[in-house]
């Protein structure tokens, strides 16, 4: 009996040792993280883990493999690669690499859209032209959407006109929504395009336009926003108008906000009540 117990314990120990050996063989990214930047061999999780290690301990040998990831089909990978390259000051070559992938219509939609995303993360003025081209002409809505978002992230003069045009005319409401959002970050924004978008057929576009008018504190928009607060069929849009009126802070809006506190939309009434407090 003792023999069997001893044998059982030995076998248990053996099983644990075998298990431990297998464990250590699969440990996460042992070795040089640069070796894990090969997108042909490794999936997004591994690539991101490797880049997080590089974020605190960068190796210049990583620069070239990272540029190859700027248009990776996984957006988290592309975003992380672009941020790492930007943080190392690798602007010119990175923008060229991403712009080339963005313009190549043989690439998949994911590759092109993530190339646009990367150009936004890189924050270089040189990215503006290829992004405007993509916003104006890429056939895939996802690519145009990412281009609009990226133009907003550049925070530079020169993108507002393209965003305004797309806000008025793009067939995709997702793209129009992204344009309305990005315009609030464009230094040369003209609020008139956002005012027009308050009449868009899609509630998401109207809501985002109202928010953007609040973000840029567009005094000229108060009358239009009051109209939205009172008449828009979508309660979320009305609440966005209430928020924007509070942000702009023109006392003219107070009466409309007070009235909206008793309106039929609960969410807009709540937003109006909070916005009205700013006038006390």
């Amino acid at each position: 009996m003792m023999f069997f117990r001893a044998r059982f314990l030995v076998m248990t120990l053996l099983a644990i040792i075998l298990c431990s050996f297998r464990v250590s063989a699969q440990d996460v990214l042992n070795g040089d993280p640069v070796n894990f930047l090969d997108q042909d061999r490794y999936g997004p999780g591994t690539l991101i883990a490797a880049m997080e290690i590089l974020a605190s301990d960068y190796s210049t040998e990583a620069t070239e493999p990272l540029r190859a990831l700027l248009a990776h089909p996984d957006e988290d990978v592309a975003r992380m690669a672009a941020w790492l390259l930007r943080s190392r000051g690798d602007y010119a070559n990175s923008v060229s690499a991403a712009a080339e992938q963005l313009a190549n219509q043989d690439n998949s939609i994911e590759v092109r859209s993530n190339a646009a995303l990367s150009l936004g993360v890189l924050r270089s003025a040189a990215g503006m032209a290829p992004l405007i081209t993509a916003l104006n002409g890429d056939p895939a809505y996802l690519v145009r959407l990412r281009a609009a978002e990226a133009i907003g992230k550049l925070h530079r003069i020169g993108g507002a006109q393209a965003l305004s045009s797309a806000l008025a005319g793009d067939e995709s409401h997702s793209v129009r929504t992204a344009c309305a959002r990005a315009l609030a970050s464009a230094p040369d924004v003209d609020p008139s395009s956002l005012l027009l978008a308050l009449s868009d057929s899609e509630s998401g576009v109207r809501r985002e336009s109202a928010w953007s008018l609040g973000r840029i504190k567009a005094l000229d928009a108060v009358g239009n926003l009051v109209g939205v607060l009172q008449n828009d069929p979508d309660c979320q849009v009305r609440s966005a108008a209430a928020w924007a009126l509070g942000e702009i802070g023109d006392p003219i809006a107070k009466q409309a906000l007070d009235a909206a506190k008793n309106g039929s939309c609960a969410v807009a009434a709540q937003a109006a009540a909070i916005a009205a407090m700013k006038f006390h």
């Binding site: 464990v23 490794y42 999936g43 999780g45 690539l47 883990a49 939309c265 969410v267 807009a268 909070i274």
Partner: protein, 688 residues
């Protein structure tokens, strides 16, 4: 031993090992009355994919539900409280009385996250919280609005709610990856929204301790390096009221720090990279270090064949409500995920001491995460003291601060109390980043004139201040310059009172405020309306003085300033104070505020001159020292001019009478006040 016996023994060993760390068919302990919860709520969403990094700040896949399971056991009744085809839910908490849930939700893929509160008493069959016209049903109300991503809500004492916010116009994080995830708080009616944390970092997993403090992980820069820190925040205060409790490495990041019934501190320890933000349960030891406590579940990112847990909540007797996943033959890590071995998280109760696990609910097609235990009302009605809001029943719209000033401050010349009211980015765009971190307007009385409360002869003071706004208290001298400044922005609800003894001093002289002069007098009123507070705008208030008396021909205009003296590299230099735009401010502002360096012909810095203006420190600002400041408060017996100025006899620019650049006493005080208010460029309401 023959081959058959060997195989038999091996299988027995494996089965025994599984029994030690594996599942149990016993009824989950959550069912027993001793744990006191009747049901659980949790979030169900698509399996997480390639969640390589906690710090990647990306969005989860679209589609999510908020579910209620009652009783909290396999086979319990499942009620779908919210169902989102395109949207998502991030963060869930239950109120201390178990009657409401609060969660971060976005309705569509391109919508923003907002904080929504739901009455559990009104849920019925669970339909109707989110309606087709964008409105919310009777059982739900939205607490936050605007183009922000508000997630991870958590109830605070008094019914207010803390949450994390990412704003498109918020502070850029310290690494430049994106906007910081900051900690905010809002009252239960959606009012008084304010920021609680401070700095350009990200906050993760705020949870409240029984003492009312908020505990979280802050990822920010310290000594030039990205660092994770656990932090304790007093949610009744404003940014700056935090204590760093420990610095932690990349391994075992404690998220969701909680205390159990024995006041032990636990958390879900995860590696920031590669583990789906899951790990093990760890306990904080006496040195403040979090150590894994579950047998078989490692901290860090190494392989975990026995699975990983996240979102752990202590429910008593070493048991935790957790989200748990295991990958057969894998590690619950990114390497498995890249091979298509994606973990399936489900809700379970886990005994941290033995690793014994009782599955509660799992749908293999989805992840179930962020579970909260909902206490049985009948238990709560008897045992739980739900904190009341202090302002209920109060007819005063102010808070009060009173106390005794320490001897050290008195000996440094403190004669009065002045209070700076913080201006938010909405009120003063860019002010917080341009003029230093402590920018605001001075509190004034109801008549809008008094800005300084006196310190009584015995060092006592009592001041009524605006409630629900961030306030910074400074002790000032006869000239209006701060002698000492409270490093923390304070604040409180209406009718609250704060008292300090021997404020800003360790000399122990503060006992006995009740018998002080201030205690016997009416509190000094500095609680005027916001519009009456004195704020500053460089172009509106300061530049006109500079243009008239300084930037004149022969002095500090562009032309003259360029020829006043020659620096080491041969370039003519001087202080140019003319009003031309420069970058996002002006020539005069940037010349006054920013460090000036003299370089040699090789471009090397050979001399660094401190700025003319040090925001918040008039006594250390060369501009104010050079101009001199006449006495302003309690002047009986005090020197006519500030003794910390450069020259007691000659005061610039009066000493240059040929240029007609004299300043009045009021203008000198105005310049000093602007410096003390943080030297902002933009004032309230100014456009950036």
């Amino acid at each position: 031993m023959n081959r058959e016996q060997t195989i038999k023994s091996f299988i027995m060993a494996i089965l025994t090992a599984m029994l030690v760390v594996g599942c149990s068919d016993d009824p989950p302990p959550g069912l027993t009355p001793s744990f006191g919860f009747s049901s659980i709520a949790f979030v169900q969403r698509a399996h997480e994919r390639n969640a390589g990094s906690l710090l990647n700040l990306s969005s989860p896949s679209p589609g999510a539900s908020l579910l209620l399971l009652e009783p909290a056991a396999p086979g319990g009744k499942l009620t779908r409280l919210v169902d989102l085809a395109d949207g998502s839910i991030d963060g869930l908490d239950v109120s201390p009385d178990g009657k409401t849930l609060v969660f971060g939700v976005r309705i569509g893929m391109y919508d923003r996250y907002h904080i929504v509160e739901m009455d559990l008493d009104k849920i019925g069959d669970g339909s109707g919280c989110l309606q087709d016209d964008g409105d919310l049903g009777d059982q739900c109300r939205r607490l936050t609005f605007g183009p922000f991503d508000d997630t991870n809500p958590h109830y605070l004492p008094g019914g207010s709610i803390a949450f994390t916010r990412v704003s498109p116009d918020g502070p850029v994080d310290f690494q430049g990856r994106g906007r910081s995830k900051v900690l905010m708080a809002v009252q239960a009616d959606g009012s008084d929204i304010r920021r609680l944390d401070y700095g350009p970092g990200h906050v993760f997993g705020p949870r409240m301790f029984p003492d009312g403090s908020l505990n979280l992980v802050n990822w920010t820069k310290k000594h030039g390096k990205a660092t994770f820190m656990t932090m304790s925040i007093d949610p009744t205060q404003y940014h700056g009221a935090s204590i760093i409790t420990s610095e932690i490495g990349q391994q075992g990041l404690p998220l969701g720090i909680s205390r159990d019934e024995l006041n032990r501190t636990f958390a879900s320890c995860v590696a920031p990279v590669g583990t789906f933000s899951a790990g093990t349960i760890c306990q904080q030891n006496q040195d403040g270090v979090f150590k894994g406590v579950v047998p078989g579940l490692p901290t860090g990112a190494s392989c975990s064949p026995e699975g990983r847990v996240k979102d752990a909540i202590p429910i008593g007797e070493n048991k935790f409500l957790v989200s748990y996943a295991k990958v057969e033959g894998g590690c619950v890590g990114v390497l498995d995920d890249d091979k298509g071995m994606t973990p399936d998280f489900g809700i379970a109760v886990l005994d941290a001491r033995t690793a014994k696990r009782w599955p509660v609910y799992n749908n293999p097609d989805y992840d179930e995460v962020q579970a909260v235990a909902i206490m049985a009302h009948e238990l709560l009605d008897r045992d739980v003291d739900f904190p009341q809001r202090p302002e209920l029943g109060c007819d005063r719209n102010t808070m009060r601060i009173e106390g005794l000033v320490g001897k050290e401050a008195i000996s440094n010349g403190a004669v009065g109390i002045r209070v700076l009211q913080g201006l938010s980015a909405a009120l003063a765009p860019f002010a917080m980043t341009l003029g230093g971190s402590d920018v605001g307007a001075f509190c004034a009385g109801q008549d809008g004139t008094e800005t300084v409360a006196p310190i009584m002869a015995d060092g006592s003071f009592s001041v009524n201040l605006p409630s629900h706004v961030p306030l910074q208290i400074e002790l000032i001298d006869n000239y209006g310059a701060s002698v000492m400044r409270d490093p923390i922005w304070r604040g409180g609800p209406q009718c609250s009172e704060r008292r300090c003894s021997a404020c800003h001093s360790n000399d122990g002289s503060g006992a006995g405020f009740d018998n002080s002069l201030a205690a016997r007098a009416e509190p000094f009123d500095l609680a005027g309306q916001l519009e009456q507070q004195r704020d500053f705008d460089f172009r509106r208030d300061i530049q006109p003085i500079l243009s008239r008396s300084c930037a004149v021909s022969g002095c500090h205009d562009a032309e003259t300033a360029s020829g006043i003296y020659v620096d080491l590299s041969g370039n003519p230099r001087g202080l140019d104070l003319h009003d031309e735009p420069s970058g996002i401010t002006s020539v005069a502002y940037s010349n006054l505020l920013f460090v000036d360096s003299i370089r040699d012909s090789h471009g090397r810095v050979v001399q660094t001159m401190r700025p003319y203006v040090v925001p918040g420190r008039a006594r250390d600002s060369r501009l104010i020292q050079k101009l001199g400041v006449p006495c302003r408060y309690s002047c009986n017996g005090a020197p006519t001019w500030a003794p910390w100025g450069f020259d007691q006899e000659h005061h610039h620019p009066d000493d240059k009478a040929e240029f007609h650049g004299e300043l009045t006493d009021e203008e000198r005080w105005l310049l000093l006040d602007w410096v003390e208010a943080g030297a902002p460029f933009h004032g309230r309401g100014a456009k950036p």
